[in-house]
Amino acid sequence: MRARFVRVPANAGSFIRNEKQMKNGTHIVLVVEDSALIRMGAIDLVRSAGYEALEACDADEAIRILESRDDIDLVFTDVQMPGTMDGIKLSHYIRDRWPPVKLLIASGAAIIGASSLPSGSQFSSKPYDDHEIIDVMTRLLASDGMSFTKVPD
């Protein structure tokens, strides 16, 4: 593993997995959102929580980024986006191809049936509260990934 300069979050210490400790890294969150201002706000929110943020404006870009590196811990995605996939399809694609990546899905629809979301993913309705998003991210990143072992092909 090549060394990277990363900020160590003050509040994420107890949640860092062994793998991350070896990398001496902080959790990396990929924000997928087509609206520029919401994306900017989400990135600011992720950084303020002490995580490193990456950004993509649609599913295709998100997949390119996921293919180009292996250190993304969580994808925080919008649902309604232009491009070949919406956020629901993207999250299923990620769950299939990169099972350990945690998923947080936000949408303007107040409720999305749990059945349409990949197992282990979390949902927030828009507009989301920053505290709620940080709480959910913290919980997702603290989980040990055991729930992903049963993911079907």
């Binding site: 201002l37 919401i38 929110l45 949408s107 303007g108 629809a109 107040a110 309705s125 509260d129």
Partner: protein, 350 residues
């Protein structure tokens, strides 16, 4: 067994009823020979009335009525072993569009078992079905559009909320940050109504779940230590219109923020209770805390934007604002008595 149908005389009144029926009707012998057909049957299926009596059903027109399924069902009906109840069948004619028919048939018995008669109604539902499909499409389209609008509203509110929170994180001044947080709370309070509306199709907002959600989100973002400060919601089962709920939500937002900020400066614990009770068209909204109470005289702070919002919305709702010392703490009550019913479907005066 109709051995001598020619000798049998049909009742003139029966024939007259069949002939004049608005619903396309056929009056048949047990072996499916037409005794009479209604004028409406002939005009619906483009047949000549005069030549029908005496013809077998299968020989009518160009033989398009010779449908094996229909024939066997009519045979079974005549024999008493089946009943045709809203049976759907397609009428196919050359150079014409297929028509969807609904067929009902029963036997007419007047005690004469040798002369069993079939009364068959044939309704062309092609156009009605097409209309129903069109209606379904329109309803579906409307639902899709509504959902689209809700998405847009949610996204717009998200942009506003995101920008406000980014500013709040970036500014240096604690006071300005406080104002930006308050603005964010107000936006989120309206957003919560939007959310309630999108999951309750009637356009009304269930006030208990709305205020609970609102107070949970206020608490989550403003209370650092939930063991120290708590907000509880005591609300009855009523629902209000969207406009009224927006006002009630904003009032609660202001009063709860105010209590969290000022009522418990040094207290070990504190409790805020948000209440909403109705009695007929009267209602009372209350926010009570067990904190230090309102400062008086020269130590009272200048009325801020929050006070202005509460007063303006109270007036708009036709309510009366009442502030009492709860010892300990403060009780703020907004009561509405009068003729304007804010509940259920009745829209308030603008």
């Amino acid at each position: 067994m109709s051995k001598t149908p020619a000798a049998h005389v049909e009742a003139a009144s029966t024939l007259a009823v069949v002939l004049s029926s608005h619903e396309p009707l056929l009056y048949l012998t047990a072996d499916q020979v037409i005794i009479a057909a209604s004028a409406s049957f002939c005009s619906a299926f483009d047949l000549e009335l005069a030549i029908l009596p005496g013809k077998r059903l299968g020989a009518v027109g160009n033989g398009e009525w010779a449908m094996p399924k229909l024939a066997s069902l009519l045979e079974a009906t005549a024999a008493g072993s089946a009943q045709i109840d809203s049976y759907e069948i397609d009428l196919k004619r050359p150079d014409r569009k297929t028509r969807n028919l609904v067929v009902n048939a029963c036997t007419l018995e007047d005690g004469d078992t040798d002369h069993i008669r079939l009364l068959v109604s044939v309704t062309d539902v092609t156009d009605a079905r097409a209309n129903a499909r069109l209606n379904d499409d329109l309803v579906r389209e409307k639902a899709v559009l509504l959902q689209e609008v809700q998405h847009r509203v949610a996204n717009s509110l998200q942009i506003i909320a995101s920008v406000l929170m980014q500013s709040a994180r970036k500014v240096q001044s604690e006071e300005v940050r406080g104002h930006l947080h308050n603005a964010h709370h107000r936006v989120m309070s309206i957003a919560a109504v939007q959310r309630q509306l999108s999951i309750s199709p009637g356009g009304d907002v269930e006030i208990r779940s709305y205020l609970t959600q609102l107070c949970n989100s206020l608490g989550a973002s403003m209370i650092a230590d939930p063991d120290r400060l708590s907000i509880s919601v005591l609300v009855d089962d009523s629902s209000v219109t969207a406009e009224v709920s927006i006002s009630l939500g904003l009032i609660v937002t202001e009063l709860v923020i105010n209590a969290l900020k000022h009522a418990f400066p040094d207290q070990a614990t504190g409790k805020i209770v948000v209440g909403y009770q109705t009695k007929g068209s009267d209602w009372t909204l209350s926010v009570t805390d067990n904190g230090i109470g309102m400062p008086e005289g020269s130590s009272a702070p200048r009325a801020g934007l929050g006070t202005g919002i509460v007063e303006a919305l109270t007036k708009n709702l036709g309510g009366e604002l009442q502030l009492t010392e709860a010892n300990p703490g403060t009780a703020i009550r907004i009561s509405h008595c009068g003729s304007v019913d804010h509940h259920k479907d009745i829209r308030p005066a603008a």
